[in-house]
């Protein structure tokens, strides 16, 4: 596997667009939280009683959830990054060349999945650092309570990026895959959720839609009952996410290993 990762490293090492994109994205995790934190501070200054009533979302232990929720909006970017890396191979036909040169189809797709795991680890670490920073400057005592949200962030990242990889392998074109990814995540899932919730009164079921599952796991820090009424237990959501990830993995692999390339 290290050898395969070394080959991937050679592909991205001198790929400037990749690094610009990645660094901007990782910096954004911190910056978006900074913006949210800033607005929060100003609100509290203007309404002195608000902090007592709502609690400070950037204080330990709430900060892990807050940071996770805020940065989850950015998960479309690592998804796009993965789509870009995978569709590059299709565009350049290097997926064919790599296999002609002696990689197996299985090795080729597996190392992409390992790349996703590594990316998810980096995202989680940045979230950890961001949470630690804002928790510390919010005059609260460090607490490991609520750190399960870091694990949820890790799972959520994997779910989003694996979904993106599946779309890339299915559509093979970056534009199409990215449009479907964003439209599905930002429009269709919400539309279906709205129909389930308001028309059919079946709210909890809509929470098990592919991307929604992990969104519900890290709800808006001010009371999940408002946004996600009757939300299912964290455990059932985690199980659902793992099932989804397994399905992405299975279909991505199957498509790549058995089809004409």
């Amino acid at each position: 596997m290290l050898h395969l990762l070394k080959i991937e490293w050679l592909k991205i090492k001198n790929y400037r667009a990749f690094w610009v994109f990645t660094i901007l994205y990782l910096a954004s995790i911190f910056l978006v939280n900074y913006i949210f934190w800033n607005i929060q501070q100003q609100t509290f200054e203007r309404n002195p009683g608000a902090e007592q009533i709502f609690g400070n979302p950037f204080a330990f232990p709430k900060v892990w959830q807050t940071v996770g929720w805020t940065s989850s909006w950015l998960l479309y970017f690592p998804g796009m990054l993965m789509i870009m890396l995978m569709t590059n191979e299709f565009n350049f036909k290097t997926h064919r060349q790599n296999i002609i040169d002696g990689l197996s189809r299985h090795q080729f797709i597996t190392v992409k999945m390992v790349m996703i795991l590594l990316l998810a680890v980096v995202i989680t670490l940045i979230n950890f650092a961001t949470g630690l920073t804002f928790g510390s400057i919010t005059n609260s005592a460090f607490s490991t309570t609520g750190m399960e949200y870091l694990a949820y962030i890790f799972l959520q990242s994997i779910a989003y990026i694996f979904f993106a990889l599946l779309l890339a392998v299915l559509f093979r074109r970056s534009g199409l895959a990215i449009i479907v990814f964003i439209l599905f995540g930002l429009i269709f899932e919400w539309l279906i959720t709205a129909i389930f919730t308001f028309q059919l009164n079946m709210a909890p079921y809509a929470y098990f839609l592919p991307l929604q599952t992990s969104d519900v796991l890290i709800p808006f820090p001010f009371g999940k009952e408002v946004i996600y009424k009757n939300a299912p237990s964290a455990l059932s959501l985690v199980i659902a996410i793992i099932l989804y990830i397994s399905a992405y993995l299975y279909f991505t692999r199957k498509k790549f290993v058995t089809d004409d390339l």
């Binding site: 790929y15 060349q97 004409d260």
Partner: protein, 318 residues
């Protein structure tokens, strides 16, 4: 060919075949790209796969390199069904040069060598061999079509493989480049390497190949050594072009010579059709005895091009 011969020749080729293809059929949806294709590539041969555009050459090579799935049929390299490691021992250029556009030629070869697990120390050598050393640091996207093609050939040479697969190796090259690649292929063949080459350029195949398979619309029309294919499709009569001071007189006289079936004037020469047994020497002698001194005597060799066109029919039939 009778059954016994067939069996013994099969036994022979099985032992020495670098690549053996059996009954490969491939459908793209309802389009049949390959129809039950079988042949063996003997060790040390330069094996040309010849066919018009869209005849299934690249599909066939794609299947043996595991990037396309056959609908049915099997193939072996060196008698075993190949895995990824086996492909590392084969240098392949398939269809188009496939490289990372944002990396330099050198960086791209580094990736290929890393995948093959060999040839890392040969990057400069192979770049020099294809005249790309000066441009090794330039991005692939800045290369001309011919340079891209040469980089792909350089990549195939990494690790000094004993089997090379070239799909249209001279695509996009200028005349000098074509001559260089032809020379390179001859040189590789003289080192005992087996070369499998797909091409629609007949001249290319005839000049460098020892064996040829002619494929049309996915159908394997004929296969064998170039000599075998030519003689198998040889005409009943040989053709000889002659001329003398007085071609009208020559035409009358030559028709009386035994073995000459027909003669006619064409483009200022007399063209005769005669028995294959009538040699140019005998013809010359017979005409001299009849008082005619020839100033031109040119036995017409049948080209692969003519054979190819006979086998595959005219363009409208394709």
């Amino acid at each position: 060919m009778n059954g016994k011969e067939n069996l013994s020749s099969k036994k022979y080729t099985l032992m020495t075949a670098v690549l053996s293809v059996q009954n490969i059929t491939k459908f793209y949806g309802s389009i049949q790209a390959l129809k039950n294709v079988s042949f063996d590539v003997p060790k040390g041969s330069v094996f040309g796969i010849l066919g018009p555009n869209g005849s299934g050459k690249t599909t066939l090579l794609g299947i043996v390199m595991d990037i396309l799935r056959p609908t049915s049929g099997t193939f072996q390299f060196f008698g075993v069904t190949p895995d990824a490691d086996r492909r590392k021992q084969i240098g392949t250029l398939l269809e188009t040069p496939n490289f990372y556009h944002y990396l330099s030629g050198e960086q791209n070869l580094r990736i290929a060598a890393e995948i093959k697990g060999r040839g890392l120390d040969q990057i400069d050598d192979v770049l020099t061999k294809v005249n790309l050393y000066q441009r090794r640091k330039s991005k692939f996207s800045t290369y001309s079509l011919g340079m891209k093609q040469r980089l792909a050939i350089a990549s195939a040479l990494l690790g000094n493989p004993n089997v090379l697969v070239f799909d249209e190796p001279t695509n996009g090259l200028d005349p000098v480049g074509i001559a260089e690649i032809r020379e390179l292929i001859r040189q590789l063949a003289s080192e005992g390497k087996t070369i499998i080459m797909a091409s629609h350029i007949l001249d290319e195949v005839e000049k460098v190949c020892t064996h040829v398979a002619i494929i049309q619309k996915g159908d394997l029309k004929t296969v064998g050594t170039v000599h075998e294919v030519l003689s198998r499709n040889a005409d009943a009569y040989a053709s000889i072009e002659i001329s003398a001071d007085n071609n009208e007189q020559l035409l009358v006289v030559v028709k009386t010579i035994p073995g000459v079936k027909d003669a006619y004037l064409q483009d200022g020469y007399v063209r005769i059709l005669c028995e294959q047994s009538l040699s140019a020497r005998e013809l010359n002698k017979a005409l001299f005895e009849n008082g005619i001194v020839l100033e031109r005597l040119l036995p017409q060799r049948k080209t692969l091009e003519k054979t190819f066109l006979e086998i595959t029919g005219t363009i409208s039939e394709q």
